[in-house]
Amino acid sequence: MKSVFFLLALLVAALFVASLLIGPAGIGFGDSLAALFRGEGGPVVLVMREIRLPRAILGLLAGAALGLSGAAMQGYLRNPLAEPGLIGVSASAALGAVIALQTGAAAAVALALPLSALAGAGIAVALILLLAGPRGGALALILAGIAISALAAALMSLVLNLSPNPFAGMEIVYWMMGSLADRSMTHVALAAPFILGGGLVLLSLGRGLDALTLGEDAAQSLGVNLPRLRLGVILGTAATVGAATAVAGAVGFIGLVVPHLLRRLVGARPSALLPASALGGAAMLLAADIGTRLIAPDADLKLGVLTALVGAPFFLQLIWSMRRVEA
């Protein structure tokens, strides 16, 4: 299992470097690194340090946030379909971000953007845990998720359509599908503290989630403080998904695909799956972001398009396998 983590870390490192080296400006390998580390090369320095580096860092952070929160929610609900995008947490975070932007709160206080997204995500997670019940039955979970997603998307469209800014209404796709194009260190500074803080909270829940493998009663009898665990899941997911969505939009399916692929490799223990999914999520988002630049360099292809193309078949396969188990 150590080798799984080693390989994942290696993959993330390779993709991070690739993300730094691939871009429309077509700068050579040596020039890129010289500019990045030594600040040599005039405009190349600006490209590397102000455009590509923040993009790669955000890909790493947002991907880790989504993979980790997916693994944590699945562990808590004991349901492999629980994923921030599918159950409306990302959409609600996007709604929070859009409200902060359109009310001018984000312009007045920069922190209002991640905080408002965090609040949106937190409300959605709390609602999901309430609606889906303790065991997180698949049907209740997905139905609750559909309702929350639809409501959040509708409210977001409303806010954006009512904006005096003609561009805002065209950005519904961005908020629904996500993109890392033209992000800056400002966004890194806004999102990183919340993603790192929330990520630490989620990683600390591993033992409680392991015990939950046996059900709520058994977990409690093993000394797990369930209310505190639930609060940790809500706050950790809200902080990570909220901050990631505030700067990158709602990117779906990473929290579904990554834990699904890695579960067997780490022996299915939620405590091992959490850090593995953080690495895997970072790898998947970095790969998707590189994909958007390679497939359609000038079209600003949205991240969620690629993650959904990969993720939706996984989702269908999961439903298929669950159907067979339940039948």
């Binding site: 004991r78 033992r207 392991d210 015990a211 939950l212 493998t213 046996l214 059900g215 009663d217 058994a218 409690q220 009898s221 093993l222 000394g223 797990v224 403080n225 579960r263 067997r264 022996g267 299915a268 223990r269 939620p270």
Partner: protein, 247 residues
């Protein structure tokens, strides 16, 4: 030494008490069988005693902090849930969590596996096992917790006869080591044969508490279960066999 003391334990569902003022103690060395028809309050008593439900009255275990309670009593719930395809040793090692780390290498894990006849199962995926095998793995998890008291809700339901007898012998063996077990059991024959003491619940109240011979009387069987049975002392110990339904 008393391992669990309940004083007027009451559990309500809405306003209706499903467990009504039960007072009892479980001391070390006892294997207590908790009997009663469906809905008598057995599960409520076990969960209430652990503080998994809001309770009235007092329970010595519920009064403990979660960590201390996990080292005082292990609980095997009725719903046999294994959410993820973890290996058997990983699952059993979860019982070690209250003592520090869920380490599959701890001797308690090996001992618990051996006690439940699961020596060759360490690396098997728990969710891929049969229902009976899963039940044994879950019992092994509770054993690995190595607590003075084991509380089990219908631990032998659905097991084959060999596994049932093995499990009951393991529980009796724990009592023999100076620990204690309280287990709800529907099979009156198994209870009579293996338990040192039986507690009979009827409509949320304590109907009888004593040795198998004292508890499983004709009158009580008729009143509480609506059945009649055959009772005998044999060289293998007490034997009880339900025979028919009254009315």
């Amino acid at each position: 030494m008393t391992l669990m003391a309940l004083d007027a334990l009451t559990v309500r569902r809405g306003t209706r008490p499903v467990l009504d003022g039960v007072t009892l103690r479980v001391d070390e060395g006892e294997f207590v069988g908790l009997l009663g028809p469906n809905g008598a309050g057995k599960t409520s008593l076990l969960r209430g005693a652990l503080g998994l439900l809001p309770i009235g009255g007092h329970s010595s275990l519920a009064a403990l902090a979660p960590g201390a309670r996990a080292r005082a009593a292990a609980f095997l719930p009725q719903g046999r849930e294994i959410a993820w395809p973890v290996s058997v040793e990983t699952l059993v090692a979860l019982g070690r969590a209250p003592h520090g780390a869920a380490d599959p290498g701890h001797p308690a894990v090996a001992l618990a596996l051996a006690r439940m006849g699961l020596d060759g199962y360490r690396g098997r995926i728990a969710t891929a096992l049969s229902g009976g095998e899963q039940a044994r793995v879950l019992i092994a998890r509770a054993l690995a917790q190595e607590t003075p008291l084991l509380i089990a809700d219908e631990p032998v339901a659905g097991l084959d006869p060999e596994a049932q007898i093995r499990a009951m012998q393991v529980f009796a063996g724990l009592a023999g080591e100076g620990r204690a077990v309280i287990a709800s059991i529907h099979d009156l024959g198994l209870a009579a044969r293996h338990c040192s003491r039986l507690i009979l619940l009827h409509r949320g109240r304590l109907a009888a508490d004593g040795t198998p011979r004292e508890v499983l009387t004709e009158v009580r069987l008729a009143e509480v279960f609506g059945i009649r049975g055959f009772h005998a002392e044999t060289p293998d110990g007490p034997v009880f066999q339900p025979l028919g339904v009254i009315r």
